[in-house]
Amino acid sequence: MMELIKDTKIDFIALRKKAFIVSAILVLVGGFAFVMISLGKANLSIDFTGGTNVQVRFAEKLSIGDLRRALTDGGIEDVQIQEVSGTSDFFIKTKLSDTEKESLASKITTILSTQLKGAKFEVLGSNMVGPGVGRDLKKYAIIAVVLALLGIIIYIAWRFTFVSGIAATIATFHDVLVIAGVFYFLNKEFNLLVITALLTIAGYSLQDTVVVFDRIRENTGKMKSRDDFGNVINVSINEVLSRTIVTGISTAISLGAIMIFGGEVLFDFAFALFLGLIIGTYSSIFVASPIVYAWRQKFR
């Protein structure tokens, strides 16, 4: 039998105060990031801000500077250009959107072929979002997150206890905020896929929390001694620890494969999920269960 860990007896509950401090700092940072994102002062994708994103592939290497100069000379200023590492692909992002006369993508094509004479390139794809759409999208994103969390609280409250539902939701919020914070400070772009990743993280983190809660519920029945709830939690977490680690590894393997081989579009998505995997595992052990414990200490 191969075992990564054996008969652990870690006192997780004793570590809860330290964990709460760490989490409080993380959540504060994440909360700050969330405010900045809501105010639009983050690297938001054109899905939310409106604008145009054009992906161009050149036959030969080209420097960002040359590309930027070509666009500026052609009359498109205020562009963000991102090079896809290891290729001669570029993302050209601008706040401008289509006019009634012509689409911005074809305007950029015209500019590039006149300014960069002789350079062979292909427009791989383009994405134009009008200014009104982003507002709707933000609204829908918020409704989606709220609904998902509400559904989860209700389900967990029904299957476990109300306090568990609250604790699981706090843990989930914690995870989503922390990932949002990390993305904000790495100046990663918030696009629809990243929002999707955040919701998926919520799902994954819950899966972890539910497994721990399930064991606590089972052991509470078995151990009966009400005064030592902390012990029940510790035993339960230790019992499921090997599962947590093995599943974590197998999920990390899949995500690693997407990050390395899945291409530019999926990288950030998988990266967010990867962070979520780590923070979600942490929170089900150090946030969700200790909250239930702290609640019981206080009100019983």
Partner: protein, 531 residues
Amino acid sequence: MIKSLKLRFILILVFLVVSIVYCLPNVVELGGVWKKYLPSDKIHLGLDLKGGMHLLLELDTSKLMDNIIDRRMNSLKDAMISDGVRFLGIDRKGSTIIVSIRPDQKEKLFNVVGNKFSDLKAGASKPEGDLLSIELLVPENQLASIKDNAVNQALETIRNRIDQFGVSEPVIVKQGENQILVQLPGVKDPQRALELIGKTAQLEFKLVDEEATARGESGAIPADDEVLKIRSKNRETGVETTAPIVLKRQALLTGELLTDARISMGGRDIGSEISVGLEFNSEGARIFDKVTAENVGKRLAIVLDNTVYSAPQIRERISGGKASITGGFTMDEAKDLAIVLRAGALPAPVRVVQNITIGPTLGQDSINKGVLATLLASIFVIIFMVIYYRYSGIIANVALALNLIYLLGIFSAFKATMTLPGIAGIALTIGMGVDSNVLIFERIREELRLGKTVRAAVDGGYAKAWVAIFDSHITTLITAAVLFIFGTGPIKGFAITLIFGMIINLFTAVFGSKTIFDWILAKYKPRTLSI
């Protein structure tokens, strides 16, 4: 769980065979008899993988309201004149028409409105000096249904245009209140498609006001005139130039009365101008006949979406209801113009609020990368499970393989759309999917440590792990369902993968792997378990 091992295997096998049958068209081209009886649909690829165009169009409903109120006002004016109602002014303010009349004409006016304009409602009437100013308005609910009809009409028109343009499997649906979603998979020339779909194609025939045009830009323009641009195109260089032209505001004839529009090559000479020939219905022909008869010598402007294409002089009365538009068109332009005129005008202009275009190279790139990532993820996870759980790991891997095959089968059978995030979802399903087996195996190990027999440990492990597996699947399903409801295109693809993946996983990872365990335990009765 079903007791009989045989039954359980049959169930698994039936699902497997059905899934494989549904998956087959993706791998091999079926021919002959097979094609007739077996499903032949490939997995439906989303635009991000297939390449194509995704457009979100918004109908300018305020413009539509303007048009409708304007038209009401004009016909009310005509009706008042023909019924002898003496009025001193007619104007509009927003969606309200205001008529000023002498008090003694009030009854006559209401008679006209009552008889001919059932959709107009009388509002307040205020005395202004010795005049009365009467408000007439279109009721709110009527406006709402007009808006609704307009969106549906626009949708039909766009569908017609796309059908005639020739795109396979287009998606054209209404979204929200006044938006239309158009998806054109694999479209070759997105710019041309956009122009074809987005053109309002409001065709009007108006008389040129020669005097006002001659006065030039500095001159004053009569109230019932308007200044438009006349387009002319150099046929050698293709350069377009425009010049102002003054027209009578009232349209004598509109595109609504067209029955046909076809491209025609003009004369027999090579290089003669390409034009679009128009044919009117009998009412249109009658009006055209009358208009040309009354205005011989004057110029009649052909106006498309407020641009004058040509303004030929009427040399003689034209009967038969035929006309043509010229304007230095290229073959493609003329072809597209004929399509939009045949399909009819949009009730109001549309605005493109979202335009995602994905070239075929990018799509293929994404497929290659996504498939590679998924394959490697599977291989690594399979190796990991065998290293960690030995023979039991192999059982988990069989369950995983079943999970994948069922998933692809269901995707094909339900004609669900696979997107790039969807492929990532498959890779993720692999990683998260083994979780069920990990939970079970860890439980079995615990039971074995307690000194239970292999049989009891396996049964106990499955029974105890079930609750946690079920609960965790439900929570993931809740988030996936929310993503499915609120997500757009690619995200929906991810949500679908996750939903199908989770449901199938409950079957394969629990029912499937347990069946294999039970079979091995019954057949070999092992004393120890390789786990």
